[in-house]
Point group: C2
């Protein structure tokens, strides 16, 4: 759980303009562990920040994503998802309940001969299947 104060300091350090919207969006992203979509963030914050516009959410997420403060995921078509954790880790999406789980993985061990002389800047790993929760309900 990060407080608004901690988030403020983080942004200040990086010379990112502090706005109410940015802090709220970041707060939500860090504390929700759901890898939310823009839609989810919008619905969740509308009550607290009634003026909030989706464009702002897109702007903010894209901006922070470029600065590597958050990470955008592409797990399924149609919807971008966002993650407050930028360390490399894998994602698992349950096809039944739709939930996304994080898991640790050693990306350095992922190497490919054919990519010698390539500059690799980003490694992504995701799995799909059925989570233990859904399996136990069958």
């Amino acid at each position: 759980m990060k407080t608004l104060n901690e988030l403020s300091n983080e942004l200040k350090k990086k010379n990112i303009r502090l706005t109410h919207q940015r802090l709220k969006i970041l707060e939500y992203l860090y504390n929700a562990k759901t890898h939310p979509t823009v839609e989810e963030i919008y619905s969740a914050l509308k009550k607290e920040v009634p003026s909030l516009s989706k464009t702002t959410i897109y702007n903010t997420l894209n901006y922070l994503s470029e600065l590597n403060i958050i990470k955008s995921l592409i797990i399924d078509e149609n919807e971008a998802r966002f993650d407050g954790v930028t360390d490399n880790h894998g994602h698992f999406k349950c096809s039944k309940c739709g939930k996304i789980y994080d898991f640790d993985i050693n990306m350095d061990a992922l190497a490919a001969d054919r990519l010698d002389n390539f500059e690799i800047n980003e490694k992504t790993v995701y799995f799909k299947g059925i989570c233990s929760g859904c399996l136990s309900k069958i």
Copy 2:
């Protein structure tokens, strides 16, 4: 290079109705190694099959994808890409030239403790960076 004849037999074996469009789309997908988008397939085949509609391409690709005859990729936002090779392999996308390279990778070695008791049906690995061709041009 697969011929139309070979493709016909493949579809017949699986009881998939043979149509001119399906064969042409599959032929293109198998022989182009570019992981094309729907747009690319459409532009490439329009001359040969003037009646071809994008809806047909979507229908065909989604259908064959469900049957595991081809594979759909999500490497970047916005556009679905398709791959005639369904064996597990990784994809590398060059941020400079946009080209997508295949590479072999041992997916079985990818395991995560936290996913014990999960049923994993699909593993995806993709990298981003700059390919050797683009690097040598700098």
